[in-house]
Symmetry: C2
Subunit: 302 residues, 2 copies
């Protein structure tokens, strides 16, 4: 495995699933500490309408404040449409993430248009972002299955990927929005994308809904994925229905990588510190393991 | 991957970690339902001293009662020494499991003797069990690291395995007692054991202490392990310190296997039903995912 990059999406994918809005000052604290921990990218928020998703209403403000500072990590923001892009350009987002759902139903529910139209629009938006000098990552949501439709045809997924690659968009996230991915599937998809373009920079975004999250992440890494999107403590999904789940926990993956000497540059104690604070803020146990147990070395020497 | 066998160890490894003793009637209910669910082996209990481990004090009684019945699964029992073997033979345990810790410290704490002496004794005990017509599985505990010693030399682990194989004991469980295993290590160990004897029947027993449990289980299966030891709901470890954790959840693994059409003969709904009852009995959420979310298909069609 090459050096695996870590993209922390807790402040976006984790917090947007919570019913309670986290104060901007608290978010800033968590984001700053994650952004200086050695993880490569931190996703600050999503440029959605604040009245529709109050948890993300301070995304512009967060970028304005963070933009004046210097951090080890690149900061990313999620953009859903042209209006979102305008806002992201306005506040100077360095890495703009956007995507399309491979599920026709999910795409229509999210964007009012089917996958094909949404793909055309997102590619145009992505190229505009790039023309404005920003880094861009494009994703295929519901790539491994859809909560509405169930299985999604592999050809649909690879069709969107091919359209991205044709447009010169080679940084591609395969997103397991509903948590349906299993290891063999993730391995095959990563290999097929690399078959289309060996230089594609693939990110895997895996939710642990059914307990296969970390196994799928390892399959992705072994197959050649370059980055993994993770969430502090595994925060995410819906804490009430319990049918959704968060991404794989950032500190669990980093702990795992460090077990084989990888990513020793990441300050695991700092990640654990943030996750402990996130868990304390919400007053409940998060799915992650290592923030509770502490790292293995500490345990052995204890 | 060949057909993967499931060895349910919740009634032993899960329940022995609980402070509360589960009534025999309740255990019987859970064991009977697991034993008829389609999983291959169910571990009923451990032949330890009842005054030392009251949770396992009814192991003999359980076997006496279950022995009169007919179940789909093979029943196994854990034996630690000659006295335990006597009891296991007395009550007709079909599959007798026993083991040695690769950690000198762990071995001395558990048995009063070092790994080398303990290995000799366990091999003698295993051969006696076999002579009595029983199936035998031998294990290497702390194979992937030890809570007392930290990393355990690979050569020590493979040395015990080689001694087992020399004695004709080819059903071997590699046990991640402390949860230190990581996927690359598990893959390498399984491959090395198969290198010593391609006919070895390897079981992986993995605890999810640091969040890598399922990833390590998949690594084991991909490398050629024949069976996985799992626990209903992922029950196990110590619910108070939270530094230990249970095995990978039985229903999560079976759900994962069924995602690729494997082990469709196992009644997943039955597994989920037992785990729900176990969680209700202890009045807390267990680590497993699928017993809470329900299987993927049910969700999609809901």
């Amino acid at each position: 495995m090459d050096r695996i990059l870590i993209h922390e999406v807790g402040p976006r994918d984790g917090l947007q699933a919570e019913s309670v809005v986290v104060p901007t000052e608290t978010k800033l604290d968590w984001i700053r500490r994650m952004a200086d921990s050695g993880v490569d990218i931190v996703q600050v928020g999503s440029f959605v309408r604040g009245d529709k998703m109050p948890q993300m209403a301070d995304t512009d403000e967060l970028f304005r404040l963070l933009g004046r500072e210097s951090h080890r990590a690149l900061l990313s923001g999620l953009v859903l449409n042209e209006k979102g892009l305008e806002r992201a350009l306005e506040v100077g987002v360095p890495l703009i993430c956007m995507g399309v759902s491979a599920s026709e139903t999910h795409s229509r529910k999210n964007t009012g248009m089917g996958t094909e139209d949404a793909t055309r629009r997102i590619i145009a938006t992505a190229l505009e972002a790039r023309k404005a000098g920003r880094k861009v990552q494009v994703s295929v949501q519901s790539a491994f299955g859809c909560g509405f439709e169930g299985p999604i045809d592999e050809a649909r997924v690879l069709g969107i990927v091919a359209a991205y690659l044709d447009a010169g968009l080679t940084s591609i996230s395969l997103a397991d929005t509903a948590g349906h991915a299993h290891p063999a599937q993730v391995r095959r998809y990563v290999q097929k994308v690399l078959g289309l373009d060996p230089a594609a920079e693939i990110t895997a975004h895996i939710h642990n809904t059914y307990g296969l999250g970390m196994a799928s992440v390892y399959a992705a890494m072994e197959a050649g994925a370059r980055a993994i999107e993770t969430s502090f403590g595994g925060l995410g999904g819906c804490p009430f229905t319990k049918v959704a789940a968060g991404n794989v926990a950032t500190e669990d993956l980093v702990h795992g990588l460090q077990r084989t000497g990888q990513r020793m540059d990441i300050d695991l104690a700092a990640l654990i510190g943030v996750t402990k604070d996130v868990a304390a803020h919400f007053g409940r146990e998060l799915p992650g393991c290592v923030y509770r147990t502490g790292p293995l070395a500490a345990k052995v020497t204890a």
